[in-house]
Symmetry: none
Subunit: 247 residues, 2 copies
DNA sequence: TATAATCTCTTACCTCAGGTCGGAGTCAAA
DNA sequence: TTTGACTCCGACCTGAGGTAAGAGATTATA
């Protein structure tokens, strides 16, 4: 099955000019070119175009897209990677949305807002710095930045701070679809338990029991679920999984 | 309070060059210009810049932003409008994400996908046409399009329908903080299992095992978590709880 | 079969939202 | 007074296309 420029344009919503452009920069070549110069695209080309558009949607430069597709010729891997990138972008947008909500609330009450908060999530420079070193995999490969900094740290004292950090990490993991089996999750739990051990006697099983209580108890569950839907269940699973591993 | 270009750049993450550019096109003028030519911005300008960035995030052209801000000088209205636009964009992204998911599933099974479906949500032309005449308010004012074609109910057969109904019920319960112990949850699971028993042999324990698999398997968990954060964990708990009760 | 309407190719130039570079003036601190 | 950081402004560059125009190809209609 082969398609004319017009048909491809119609199907994909891209203009003929854009197809020509992609050909010129070697991003998407026609399957064949007739003697009269007419270009025809096949199924393989349509699939590649689809992937180009997914990446374009993520604001990759055409050059980056070319690299991504050429370095990862396995379509399924590409698609999965695009999936997690889109998920990552969602976080940034959630951040911006929160800033917008906060701004509306401040404006409604007529209370002035801190200048830093005003640009939370919008300030690309800032969060690119804040997350330097994180998510190396995607960053190296795509130069794509992921927003993971959520809480304002120094507003809390040390204890609350550690707890909030742990929670925020779990929220991020939950939102990113990280398995409770993942080493990063186990590590976080281990660290959290060690911290708690500074002023109380608790072990992995005790912690698991505690999280199960937090999940079953209506009041505490509500507190956690308000922070992030699903959090109480996730943490409980993670804690039980961690305790189970130690046996 | 007034800020130098450097300070504004630092706060907002925008470059000095961009500030200059905005000044040149009359989008954001400094509050004052000293005799030495230095430009200074006040609180009012920072607020305007914030709004510019919200709009820019929504891919409005600078000219459109100028019009939007000049025609709607009421900040609160602007912010609210931006809020609904961002919400609308979320829909479009959800659409794209679904196309990506479907593509992954087709690719996994090696089944070819219809060419139209391949570009669902990506085809801007298409959804601009599909919603012609709708959302006139925003379109007239901003030339911004909203994706409204979301659910194609009759596209699903009965089976998928029941599953979707069950899932949607669980999502609602999770979001409302309903305990997995709650009778409504047990009842829904019972009903769902009975339905499945029509064409397969499964019991409460089998179902619990299945949900645990869905939670532990990276790909399936991703699918569920995408629908609602925490869903895979909630359903697994609920299923295990239901199976446990029967003993 | 002739003609009109549509499609296609290619090149040259335009646009938008900035980035880069360079020269020159300005300011604060050592 | 000199150094280093900050600022201004203009000229030119970039990416991802859009527009316009001339010319050949194909298809539909008279």
């Amino acid at each position: 099955m082969s398609y004319t420029v017009h048909e491809v344009a119609e199907l994909s919503g891209v203009t003929i000019k854009t197809l020509y452009h992609y050909q010129k920069i070697g991003l998407l070549m026609p399957e064949s070119i007739a003697e009269n110069g007419y270009r025809y695209y096949g199924d393989k080309e349509l699939k590649r175009l689809q992937q180009i558009l997914f990446y374009r949607e993520l604001e990759f430069s055409l050059e980056n897209i070319k690299n991504a597709l050429d370095n990862e010729p396995d379509r399924l891997n590409c698609l999965r990677e695009q999936y997690s990138l889109i998920k990552a972008r969602e976080q940034r947008h959630a951040h911006i949305l929160r800033t917008l909500e906060e701004t509306i609330q401040h404006e409604e009450k007529g209370v002035p807002m801190s200048k830093e908060k005003m640009f939370n999530g919008l300030n690309k420079k800032e969060w690119e710095e804040a997350i330097a070193g994180q998510n190396e995999h995607l960053q190296e490969k795509y130069d794509y930045k992921i927003d993971t900094s959520e809480i304002d740290a120094d507003a809390m004292n040390k204890k609350a701070n550690e707890a909030a950090e742990f929670m925020s990490f779990m929220v991020t993991s939950l939102k990113n679809g990280v398995s409770v089996n993942d080493k990063s999750v186990s590590d976080a739990i281990e660290k959290h338990i060690k911290f708690m051990q500074q002023d109380m006697s608790i072990d992995a099983n005790g912690f698991a029991a505690q999280t199960r209580f937090l999940m079953t108890d209506d009041f505490h569950r509500k507190m956690m679920e308000d922070q992030q839907t699903g959090l109480s269940y996730y943490i409980c699973f993670a804690a039980e999984n961690y305790a189970g591993k130690l046996i």
